[in-house]
Amino acid sequence: MKTDIRRGLGAVFALVLTLGSLPLEAQAFDKLNLKGTVVKYWYQHSQARETALQAMIARFNTTNEWGITVKGEFAGGYNDIANKMIAAIAGGATPDLVVAYQNNAATYAQSDALVDLEPYVNDAKFGVSAQDRQDYFEGFLSQDVFPQFGGVRLGWPPNRAVEVLYYNADWMKALNIDAPPKTWQEFYDDCKLATNAAKGTYGYAISPDASNVFAQVIARGGDFQAPQGRGYTLNTKAMADSFTFMQKLYKDGYAHKIAEQYGDQTDFANGKVLFNMSSSSGMPFYGAAIKKGAKGAFQWSVAPLPRTTPQPVQNIYGASVSVVKSTPEKQLASWLFLKWMSEPAQQAEWVKVSNYFPVRRSTAAALTDYLASNPQFADAFAQLKAGKQKAEPSFTGYELVRDAISAAYNQVLDGAPVPATLATLDDKAKKIFNQNR
């Protein structure tokens, strides 16, 4: 009798230990009844993108096998959503899914408002299989893993864009330049060739933006942050080289600075600059502008930025979608919707309306016609597959550091000494980092 009791207790103890070693979600996912679960999704899309997104949501609602209903709502621009989320977290009126840049997600995570998606991704039944995982661009997925929070995954990418070099192919041909510049020296030489002060033409239109600085820095093998999320490193050789190069290009008169929004698009479309550096998501707007440009339509395309690295390293743009802590049912339902959105069929549909890159390589098979009719997108997509991607820091308060970087870039262009400017910038960034920890 005593032996039976001991055996029984031992079995219970072993069961408790086994269950205890599993993540809570892993134990519970299979038992959750998702029928009738309603998930609220705050996004920033409007116009054609919103129409397409709503159509996809409607299709998910009618076809998903679990009986989940997603309700998508426009909640303002990125900054509006960030403000709204902060108030909603304080007031307990959050949505279940929210679009969030990584630094915004970090802010929400400081209030313990977001779900770590890693258990969902790795779940045998509801997660992403090892084979499918290989299909995702790793750089896109790793962007949502936060070392500063112990490696949790706070978002899932619906799409991405990268920083590219726009070039006027017809003009390059006329200047006897046979290929877009691969090195910074080639870029300088090409800009010099294109500049004609009397005609008001320049090599490059400088938009003093922090994302562009980051793109230049990673193309020189640098970064804005120390490994493992230990803070900013802005006083580096790659940063100094980037600022010094642009300062010289500007001082020599081969580049000009633009102040107004999309001014670089305007100059490029009007044939006033040979090169631009900007997000690949702007390609449809460039295309539309060039068709009606002052100098008429011309051949153009995109290339990776000039570099010192052996292969291109591109700055990734794009917000992810985060799952907000709620009930286990809503969290799982939210994840299932995110996973569905990243499947190739939905990705192909989304690419066609948004012109963003898909997050999975296999989407290309469903985009044959689209790639054929959008050669610039096809070029950029090919470069994406061949290159590496790197994301900007995801620290809370990064938006303040971005402002400081833009200001420093402007100062340097206006003649401020690079070493002193970078030293001040680095101090400022470190202070911001420490204040927001």
Partner: protein, 281 residues
């Protein structure tokens, strides 16, 4: 009129005309761009309104139709009218009554309370966003019309402005009305309000403009399209890496019409009030 006077007058009008030109230029820019095609806003541009590139090659009136018919813009317009109307009615009622009390009545703690009200003017909206949201949520008003109207039905600035004006009204008038048996409410309705057209118009205009342009608060407290105002509708016209500028401009042109109409109607009173108090609208 002497020659010197004439020169002075011409100079004065020239300066005023220049000021008017500078003030009107953004509106003209808005009108011109609202009638362009999207590519034209990139390729056909000039800061000079006398240059042909400033204007569209062929006016796209359809931009206005697209904005109005697409994306529930008409519904948002109606919501803004309702929100603005209710807010205005509320703020005028509370401000007139409170300003009369602070200007003409004696009660303990009057000066202290008034100072507290003035202090509230110095707290930025960002600071009060979360506490205000918590209150609205506790009252169960999230996503309700009350959330975008009731919190703005009392305003320290309006109260301050009216109180300053009411203080200048002759006390004898109030005393005589009281002797004739008029209550305080009767004095407000029959004497104070009819004598205060200028400051009331100014308060109404400023509060209506503020309600009409509010974006952050409606975005925070409204989570469905049921009561979304026009400002949110305008925000929806912004997209990705390039903006559909003509639609935004057409939307903005539609949005400013009611404010312009109100200003034109109340223009005389508003300028009178500005002249009296040196107020900047």
């Amino acid at each position: 009129m002497t020659k010197a006077d004439r020169t002075k007058r011409i100079t004065r009008y020239a300066v005023l005309a220049l000021g008017a030109f500078v003030a009107l230029l953004p509106l003209v820019y808005l009108a011109a761009n609202s009638l362009k095609t999207a590519p034209e806003t990139v390729t056909r541009i000039s800061p000079n309104p006398f240059a042909p590139e400033f204007w569209p090659e062929s006016p796209q009136w359809s931009n206005f139709v697209s904005v109005w018919e697409g994306d529930q813009f008409g519904a948002y317009f109606l919501h803004s009218l309702i929100i603005g109307g209710l807010t205005l009615a509320g703020v005028l009622t509370t401000s007139v009554l409170a300003a009369y009390a602070f200007a003409k009545l004696r009660f303990p703690g009057k000066e202290g309370l008034f100072s507290l009200l003035l202090v509230s003017l110095m707290v930025p909206e960002t600071v009060t966003l979360i506490p205000d949201f918590l209150v609205v949520k506790a009252l169960g008003w999230v996503d309700q019309l009350a959330a975008v109207t009731v919190p703005f039905m009392a305003g320290a600035f309006s109260l301050f402005l009216l109180r300053q004006f009411f203080r200048q009204l002759p006390q004898d008038l109030m005393d005589m009305a009281q002797i004739d048996g008029c209550s305080h409410l009767g004095i407000v309705v029959r004497i104070v309000v009819p004598l205060s057209a200028a400051p009331l118009s100014t308060v109404a205009f400023l509060d209506l403009t503020s309600s009409w342009n509010a974006l952050q608060w409606p975005l925070v407290v409204l989570q469905s399209p049921d009561w979304r105002p026009l400002s949110v509708g305008l925000a929806r016209l912004v997209s990705g890496s390039g903006a559909d500028l003509p639609l935004r401009m057409a939307g903005a042109a539609i949005a400013i019409v009611p404010i312009l109409v109100v200003f034109l109607i109340a223009q005389k009173q508003i300028t009178e009030s500005i002249a009296s108090y040196g107020l900047k609208t």
